[in-house]
């Protein structure tokens, strides 16, 4: 089957993108330089075509119950430190599991209204997730619709994202008011009353969300498939004045790995969804002793068996390429490497990892880049354990860490990001 194309395919080819098939779509890997694109998201902003991602709508009186049963996060207890219920205008990350507790896909669930939810899953996964949800439906009171290919999406990620969007949107001050991390406003298609709450100066309705896949401050933007090309052109032109550049999937992959975010079907997949760096995606009670709700796949995770997934960071930028083994210092095989990429924005300094965006970076700091990613091992490991990663051509020593790229900006309040000082 020929690869699918997003509505921005012609733009990518006209702008020199190196393309590769990802999730069934011909997508840009980079335009000029994947390294510059990665760095731009830390220093200015990066613009990503993410129209390959799939949207599944779940509507009806039982929509909440259906998602509450199929989604790992407890929708009745997920907002803020006090675990308030999900409410319209808020989104939450989690996963859809099989009966065995394996990952079908990860997702962000956006609550559009009391009985209306938008579920955003990975490229090519719309039909499978829609089928899964339809099969899980107990009554007929929830309508599941796969909108794959019918929604346009792009991400604006980086410290200048709000400043750029401030020029693109009508009444940006009102839009940015009360919009913390994982909040969203507006809408697209025919979904009053939210549609129209966020509109470009050209009058295009958007759903604007404080989410993303880079770990950095910014937005995901959803609109009608036939409107995304115009929105993209507008944001590229505006962004250009602020040093924002279009970015491909290579930068997206290295940014998300440095931000300790999993790639579905690579870092999470056909094994039990637990003992991983994303416990917030499971409905643990505050004391972590048990789950706060019954959900599909949950029984298989209580108690949770192996494997264990850990982030790691290398000593320098050298990588191994999967398939690669994880060894201890006595060369015993502990497991396998899931992801290994280079985050070009970080480097070691005085026994800690520093980023080009770290406020306290040394004045002469020059990020040499560090390999990083995830390993999956059979037994638990203490933090800071040194591991050897071995592929067919080399061995590298890495350290098991809680976090990789420091000083990320994703959670910063919009108001503090609106007029960042240029250095």
């Amino acid at each position: 089957m020929a690869p699918l194309q997003t509505p921005l395919y012609a733009w990518h080819t006209a702008h020199g993108a190196r393309l590769a098939v990802f999730g069934g779509y011909d997508m840009p890997l980079w335009y000029g330089s994947a390294k510059d694109e990665h760095l731009a998201v830390l220093t200015h902003a990066g613009l990503f075509d993410t129209s390959h991602m799939a949207v599944v709508m779940v509507d009806g009186p039982e929509a909440f119950d259906l998602l509450q049963f199929c989604f790992t996060t407890d929708l009745a207890a997920c907002l803020g430190p006090r675990k308030a219920p999900l409410k319209p205008g808020r989104a939450v990350y989690g996963a859809f599991l099989t009966e065995a507790g394996h990952v079908l896909d990860d997702a962000i669930v956006f609550m559009l209204g009391g009985t209306s939810f938008m579920v955003v899953v990975n490229a090519g996964m719309g039909p499978a997730v829609a089928r899964h949800l339809t099969d899980c439906r107990r009554g007929g009171q929830a309508e599941v619709r796969d909108l794959s290919g019918q929604v346009g999406k792009m991400d604006v990620q980086g410290p200048l994202a709000a400043t750029i969007m401030g020029e693109v949107l009508r009444e940006p001050e009102a839009v940015f008011e009360g919009m913390p991390y994982f909040a969203f406003k507006g809408g697209f298609g025919e979904r009053p009353p939210a549609v129209g709450a966020v509109v470009t100066r050209d009058g295009v309705p958007l759903l604007l969300s404080r989410t993303g896949y880079t770990g950095e401050f910014g937005f995901e933007i959803f609109t009608a498939a036939d409107a995304i090309a115009g929105v993209w052109e507008t944001i590229v032109a505006t962004g250009q004045r602020y040093g924002a550049i279009p970015c491909g999937l290579a930068a997206r992959d290295s940014l998300r790995a440095g931000a300790v975010l999993p790639l579905s079907h690579q870092d999470i997949g056909a094994w039990p969804f637990c003992h991983h760096p994303w416990p917030f995606a499971l409905p643990y009670m505050p004391d972590k002793s048990q789950f706060s709700k019954p959900f599909l796949g949950g029984a298989a995770l209580e108690p949770c068996q192996a494997p264990f997934t850990y982030p790691f960071v290398g000593q320098d930028l050298r990588k191994v390429s999967p398939p690669a083994e994880v060894l201890d210092q006595d060369e015993r095989v502990l497991g396998q490497v899931l992801t290994c990429v280079t985050d070009m924005a970080i480097g070691w300094h005085a026994n800690r990892v520093v980023s080009v965006a770290s406020p306290d970076r040394p004045p002469d700091f020059r990020a040499g880049g560090l390999s990083c990613g995830f390993v999956k091992v059979a037994d638990p490991l203490p933090w800071n354990t040194t591991l050897i990663l071995k592929d067919k051509r080399r061995q590298i020593a890495v350290r098991v860490v809680k976090d990789i790229r420091p000083d990320r900006t994703a959670r910063r309040p919009i108001q503090t990001m609106l007029q960042p000082k240029e250095e």
Partner: protein, 133 residues
């Protein structure tokens, strides 16, 4: 990505199917990767090269080039002993992207059989191969 017509394919080097090039320099041969190869790899952030004195057969893996995304092997365009390596690539691997046939050269080798050079593709044959791929 560069169109074929945009590729820099000098006349004074010979090419391999693995996208390495070699240039005769008196008694030795200078080798590196082609403009097509660097364009396909994207940003090169690390180059791993052998030591002077190491000996390789034609087609042997002699090192790696590492982009942000992947690690790729380098293959000897002709057999011989490594005479010199380009030390500048240690600190400036991007030279391979910016000047693949000049400052981005990788090795100089004393060929064990210089006639292997004559069997490599010339510009025209290499371009034909690229058109077919």
């Amino acid at each position: 990505m560069k169109e074929l017509s945009e590729l820099n394919l000098p006349e004074d080097v010979r090419y391999t199917k693995d996208h390495e090039w070699a240039r005769r320099k008196g008694e030795t041969f200078q080798i590196g990767i082609t403009d097509f190869a660097q364009d396909q790899l994207g940003d090169i952030v690390f180059v791993e090269l052998p030591e002077p004195g190491d000996v390789f057969q034609n087609g042997d893996e002699f090192g790696t080039v590492e982009s942000v995304k992947a690690v790729s092997e380098l293959f000897m365009p002709l057999g011989g002993e490594v005479a010199t390596v380009n030390a500048a690539l240690e600190d400036s691997p991007e030279l391979v992207n910016n000047a693949p046939y000049t400052e981005g050269w990788m090795l100089e080798i004393a060929a064990s059989d210089p006639s292997e050079f004559d069997q490599m593709m010339d510009r025209e044959a290499y371009l034909e191969m690229l058109k077919g791929s």
